[in-house]
């Protein structure tokens, strides 16, 4: 680990010595929009060379008796909207405009442009122009006008809103985020239609500006959290952010940890519920998942279905998840420790049958376990890459055929197949993909240490894990809250899920300004 740190530091230093990658790409200020159309066209051609998808439509603009050009990117802009609301109007419906022929068009006359679109902005510099056109707007240049006008005609290819595949739910909503930030904001607004839902927009990335929106409830969210998040986002110096995962990796507290320190979700209802608890939600444009911060460990064990099923059922599921998480990380390790060191703890009849299975296997338990685990991980990864029907076949072929054949061939023992497959099942129970992957990875060092030190090793691994969990932070807030530091009042929604009418306060772990979430809807548990 020391070595790893050194290597990373070395590369960091090198990258600092060479000028930071983004500063060189920062576009020089290209100046203001000229009043001559010709000059403007030349400037545009200079900015966007080799851009065949850029459309420049010239026409005669009658109110000012001058030539005009509408510029947009084919594909990013909605053609229908440009034809019907912009071009048609500008060309034919422009008689009524209250501007004298040959008069000047200025800021004041902006609303008088005969364009039937809601959102029009004026543009004075080519920087703004570049940003606007790259975001799918169409920009109008008129000869003799020292300004340009950007019309909201965005219409890039966009996917329909569908169920999130990675976070499927039975009883929750069947809407998932898509890749357009405006739409994602709208999805959250549908859940929290309150004026207290504030949206702070930031632009990050020097080559390609990525729009980040921080959503929070002004009267609930602790301002320190917001400030910290803003500080981290604004201090970013990157080329471009393509994905929420990239963003999370750049701003997380401990980049060396195996564990995810932010929740990323594709579900608007999960995001809304977290915002309502007082957390921040960062929407990254072009990414279909959003980032929730600060993340507590409990959130990784909460599924959205927990709140729509009856509370004893949800509690059972919650406990099952914690148990499964433990199994997924430690079961192969415990198995190895038991058969390599502490066979005394295995019940007699079991040890006799394990002995029979093991006698046929030529490898030590660790190798045996690694063979099975790696096979399983390969199957899992192959299942993701392949199209759904084939993926299933691979799962069946791998799970049943390879497992059975491996046992018969004497490569692995029967019980190891049982252990590995139950571990695999356990690792898929966690509702959060990032956490499940982390747990899956933790399993390997645990196996290794178990094969060297037995149960002692497992205890050491467990203690190291606990120590790490305790010291980990998310957005400078303790990650293991409410378990460590203890916030007993928040335990209503950690290991158990108490009835909703008992959860009248927001979690203390997030330090929300407004504590009360609901009144006592039931007094003494009686139905009023």
């Amino acid at each position: 680990m020391e070595l790893l740190l050194r290597i990373i530091k070395y590369f960091n230093r090198r990258s600092l010595q060479t000028s930071s990658p983004s500063s060189g790409n920062r576009a020089p200020a290209r100046g203001h929009v000229h009043s001559q159309l010709k000059a403007n066209i030349e400037a545009i051609r200079a900015i966007f060379s080799k851009a065949p998808d850029m459309v420049m439509r010239s026409f005669f603009y009658r109110p000012t008796e001058s030539h005009a050009v509408l510029v947009y990117f084919d594909g990013l802009a909605d053609k229908n909207s440009i034809n019907n609301n912009v071009l048609y109007q500008l060309m034919f419906e422009s008689e009524d405009i209250g501007v004298a022929k040959g008069g000047r068009l200025g800021k004041r006359t902006l609303p008088l442009l005969p364009v039937t679109l809601g959102h029009i902005t004026t543009i004075s510099s080519f920087d703004q122009f570049e940003l606007a056109i790259l975001h799918g707007k169409s920009v109008l240049f008129i000869d003799g006008v020292e300004q340009a006008y950007a019309f909201n005609t965005q219409g890039w290819p966009q996917r329909a809103i569908s169920d999130s595949q990675i976070e499927a739910s039975l009883k929750g909503a069947h809407q998932g985020f898509i890749e357009t930030s405006e739409m994602n904001v709208a999805l959250i607004r549908r859940y929290i239609s309150s004026r207290e839902l504030k949206i702070k927009e930031l632009s990050v990335g020097s080559r390609v500006a990525s729009k980040l929106s921080i959503l929070y409830l002004e009267d609930v969210t602790e301002p320190e959290l917001l400030a910290e998040m803003e500080r981290r986002l604004t201090s970013l110096n990157v080329d471009c952010i393509l994905n929420t995962g990239e963003l999370a990796e750049l701003i997380e507290d401990n980049p060396f940890s195996l564990l995810p320190q932010f929740i990323t979700t594709e579900r608007p209802d999960t995001a809304a519920s977290q915002i309502l608890q007082g957390r921040l939600c960062v929407i990254v444009d072009r990414s279909s998942s959003v980032l929730i911060a600060p993340a507590g460990i409990a959130a990784f064990f909460q599924g959205i279905d927990d709140y729509s099923t009856r509370w004893p059922v949800a509690t059972f599921m919650r406990l099952l998840r914690f148990f499964a998480c433990f199994l997924a990380a430690f079961l192969p390790g415990i198995y190895i420790a038991c058969i390599s060191f502490n066979h005394e703890v295995i019940p007699l009849d079991l040890i006799l049958s394990i002995g029979q299975f093991r006698a046929a296997v030529p490898f030590p338990p660790l190798i045996e376990a690694l063979i099975m685990e790696i096979t399983l991980e390969m199957l899992r990864e192959a299942g993701i890459r392949l199209p759904a029907p084939v993926g299933q076949t691979v799962g069946i072929v791998g799970g049943i055929v390879i497992g059975q054949a491996a046992v018969q061939a004497g490569i692995v023992s029967n019980l190891m197949v049982v252990v590995v497959s139950s571990t695999a099942v356990a690792s898929f129970i966690l509702p959060n993909y990032d956490m499940a992957s982390a747990i899956r990875l933790i399993r390997f060092p645990v196996m290794l240490i178990a094969s060297m030190f037995g149960i002692v090793g497992i205890i050491v691994a467990f203690m190291v894990l606990i120590a790490h969990l305790i010291s980990l932070t998310s957005l400078s807030e303790p990650f293991s809250v409410p378990i460590a530091p203890i916030r007993i009042s928040d335990w209503k929604d950690v290991f158990v899920r108490l009835p909703l009418w008992k959860m009248t306060t927001r979690p203390r772990s997030v330090r929300s300004l407004q504590k009360k979430r609901m009144g006592s809807n039931r007094s003494d548990g009686e139905n009023k």
């Binding site: 680990m1 020391e2 740190l5 401990n254 060396f256 058969i339 390599s340 060191f341 066979h343 005394e344 007699l348 009849d349 040890i351 006799l352 394990i354 002995g355 029979q356 093991r358 006698a359 046929a360 296997v361 030590p364 338990p365 240490i449 094969s451 060297m452 030190f453 037995g454 149960i455 002692v456 090793g457 050491v460 190291v464 120590a467 790490h468 010291s471």
Partner: protein, 377 residues
Amino acid sequence: MRKKQFCCMTVAVCLLSLLLSGCKDRLDLENITLVLMVGIDLDEDNNLVLYSSSPVFSKEAKSKNETSKVTATTIREARGELEARVSALISIGKLQNVLIGKRVLRHKGWVQLLDVLYRDSKAKTNARLIAVDGPVEPVMYFAPDDKRRLSLHIAKLVDTAHERNLVEKSTLFEFHRLLFDKSITPYMTELRLSNSEIVLPGTALLDNEGIYRTSINLEENELLQIIQDEKLADLSLTLVLPDVKHEKSVFETRAISFYVTDVKRKVSVGYAGGKFIFDIDLDLPIHLTERLFAYNVDKNATRLEAMIDKQLEQQMGKLIAKLQKAKVDPTGLGLFARAYQYAAYKKVSDGWEKDAFAKADVRIRVDTEIKDYGEMR
């Protein structure tokens, strides 16, 4: 910097853990010969003979068990000898039974042989101690076709028989307690190989030095467990009531069987004239399960109860007399004497079963109550 510190700490903890004592004793399961049964006996020349029985895991082996026999001075020394014979390294972590020949039990100091089983933290102190009536060797090599491997069969047999109160059971752990408690004498399950069948004839009773004194049979053992107030599962007794009219037949028609569903015992201890006096009151609710003679229980329950009481009292009296004669006290009455008559007990504590219990006056009063007489009148 905190992160770096954490990483350093993690590395340090990992390195330090290499020094832990748990690291060197790695022993994979396939390299272990699990000794499930140990036999201890003396041959004709009074040499100590040790047997070990362990499962064989390999599919190529025809027999599922391997049994070895060595002569050695101690059990630990025998391990070396055995490891030179059996297929892998010996582990006694899953030891089930320790069979001890009666020949061994008759010699003073045999208890010291068990020392290694107590001292070695990896040995299993839950192993059952079993006295073998006759030589141990045929039992160790006995491999019945219709039973599972013998070590497990014997373990199960002892457990279930004990569950039905037919034999007493002593694990190594319990035996240690019985041996060192001056006010109770140890006992262990007795086992015999008769007509190619493993039989548990009863319980072997030992004195406070572990020397074999006498044995009690299954019925006596049931009564003993009532007196001990250690009834486990269903305790079923069958009595012949001499006061019932006997119709001449080859069959005994005066027999009655019942479950003792509960034992409520009251013991009071007195000391008078250099003798301990024990008054044991036993309240036994019973369920009749079998009655071979005509009797109207509905109307005359009290008379039947009285007959049963009398019969039980007689049999228990006989049992106590037998114990007193053999100078053993597995009943645990000594514990009452120590608790309630300490001054008197202290004088005789070193030879409780010889000096006090053997002379004590034990009065047993049984009060049965028929709670249920079955589906027929």
